[in-house]
Subunit: 350 residues, 2 copies
């Protein structure tokens, strides 16, 4: 075992010096801007057998934000290390049992980001442990494909990104650039458009809308004038994106303005997927080839009448009838664990 | 003279105990998010004579940001006090010569903001000095109307706002809610749309555009991927808005994407003015009455081929042929000084 970066984090190993039944594990971690989840999965030694479905999860641990762009390098690192230790400790196992780790973290956009995380991860685990670092979108894809990197994933929560992979290892992304750079299909984008519509209705630039009453009530404000103060008091994207259900309710109730905002969001989300499919040729030469489209995130989940995810799929079908929409049954952290296992097996059989 | 809030700021008065020639002055201050300007203007005792044109300015002092939302109450206050002291000191005069002060500061949106600033301003000046606190848009209007509060002002710099006043004291505003709440016509809005267009061209969601080459060159970046890091490293609105000239150059050179962004900005800016004119009935009952439209800010200044300000006026003319566009010959701080004088005279002749 290597030197401890942080003695306290791994103290539990003193009471649990070896894995009780000698069983081995893989760790999968999904690190986002809102929260970080780590799961501990048994290591299946045979690569020629399909993994059990559902995938067994030995333990699950949760922590806060681990995006280094948001909280800084040191805090991100400590959060990641702690959540891995928690998952191992809960599973009754320790680092000597780990065969592979996949960290899928938001904010990993360049090989330099990967290298930086890999280098401190290397200090935590023994040299025989296989370590993989990916963008969190990759884990979301894997959560719908049992760890296979092929197809496209569309994530639409507070933010949005479309990420695609071909079987021969090419990849492409669209959107995921944050709200300043026009991720209008995201939860943040939908909510910001709704807030804008309220301001416009109030100052005479736009039509009246039921969003005014509904949003003011949701925020306990008495006038649209107060929205400026509310917005800039804490411009956290998640706080604003939390208004999406209000927009969907208004659209469900027939409000034209809310309806238009959701329709534009559908167009935006579909255009991200189409751009990725087009660039990677996921649909084959005739445009009719099939490919998995994994759909993840609160914005894409079914609502009462208005189902954003369903509308996005309808919009993509028109151009790519081979689209196979998948709503994952497991969370992205499990996708990361599946990736760790898949990567390990591929390396072992090179 | 009241107690000094900050001894050092007013130390110069010890060497200049009385106004040298007994002449009196008014102070006009324009406090924005980027900078703060204070001018010292002679006090003209007769209200029945028009003020000289050009208005004589005895001294001018400049400081940084004085928006309390940006820098906090204490720093804003010190900046405002210092810049007033500087202007007085430079004019060879002191507080005993001051008859009226108008502070026009961005971030003043509610009567409570006004009251807060008035209360500490009252500590600085003797009780006979008339004190007025306004939103900075009001000074911009006054800079084009020789201090009369009638008509509409459109400001489009980093941000944008339309503000209007009727002769009987009603007022209305549109936009000015910041970028999250959809001030798309602003310099920030134009630049953010241009950055978005570059990202979209890069990831396949949008058409190719000359903006890519021009913006990357302007920012010394080598790939659109680096825009994400550049943008979120320092999301200051002014830093992003500084890209407007690049967008205008591309539109001048015939780039369709840049052209469309500017056309949308024109529509947005015109719609703010129209909303204010409509709500206040500035155009009279038949819609053809004339009213001054004061136009202020870098976005509205003439460019080579593409003149955003001219296009905005053309767009407003279609609905309101009585629009009288004015490009002020003096800066907003002088507008604030003119306001101070006008308010003073109106109170004196009540």
């Amino acid at each position: 075992m290597k030197r401890y970066r942080n003695g306290e984090i791994w103290d539990f190993e003193d009471e649990m010096p070896v894995s009780p039944d000698g069983s081995e594990v893989v760790l999968g971690l999904d690190g986002g801007t809102t929260s970080t989840v780590c799961v501990c999965m048994p290591f299946f030694p045979l690569s020629d057998r399909p993994l059990p479905d559902p995938v067994p999860v030995l333990a699950r641990a949760v922590a806060g934000c681990s995006n280094h762009n948001s909280v800084g390098e040191t805090a991100a690192r400590e959060t990641l290390e702690q959540v891995m230790a928690d998952a191992l400790s809960k599973s009754g196992s320790n680092r000597s049992a780990v065969r592979a780790v996949c960290l899928a973290v938001s904010g990993v956009n360049h090989p330099t980001d990967q290298q930086r995380i890999l280098s401190w991860l290397r200090d935590i685990f023994s040299s025989h442990v296989k370590l993989y670092v990916q963008n969190d979108a990759v884990a979301a894809l894997a959560s719908g494909t049992m760890g296979e990197l092929h197809g496209c994933v569309l994530i639409a929560g507070t933010g949005t990104i479309a990420y695609g992979f071909t079987e021969d290892g090419r990849e492409a992304r669209a959107a995921g650039a944050g709200p300043i750079l026009g991720d209008w299909g995201s939860g943040y984008g939908i909510a910001a458009q709704a807030l804008t519509a309220v301001v416009r209705a109030h100052d005479g630039r736009g039509p009246q809308t039921a969003l005014t009453y509904s949003i003011l009530r949701a925020l306990s404000l008495s006038s649209p004038d107060e929205l400026i103060g509310w917005t800039y008091a804490d411009p956290s994207w998640a706080r604003i994106a939390a208004l999406v259900p209000v927009v969907v309710s208004c659209a469900d109730a027939g409000d034209e303005v809310a309806n238009k905002i959701l329709l534009e969001s559908v167009e935006e989300l579909a255009s991200s997927v189409k751009a990725v499919v087009q660039r990677l040729g996921l649909c084959g030469e005739d445009g009719k080839g099939s490919f998995p489209l994994v759909m993840v995130g609160g914005v894409l989940e079914a609502n009462k009448t208005w189902d954003i995810g369903k509308e996005v799929v309808n919009c993509i079908y028109k151009d790519y009838p081979g689209t196979l929409p998948i709503r994952p049954k497991v969370e992205p952290a499990v996708g990361a664990a599946l990736l760790a296992w898949n990567f390990f097996m591929k390396e072992a059989h090179k």
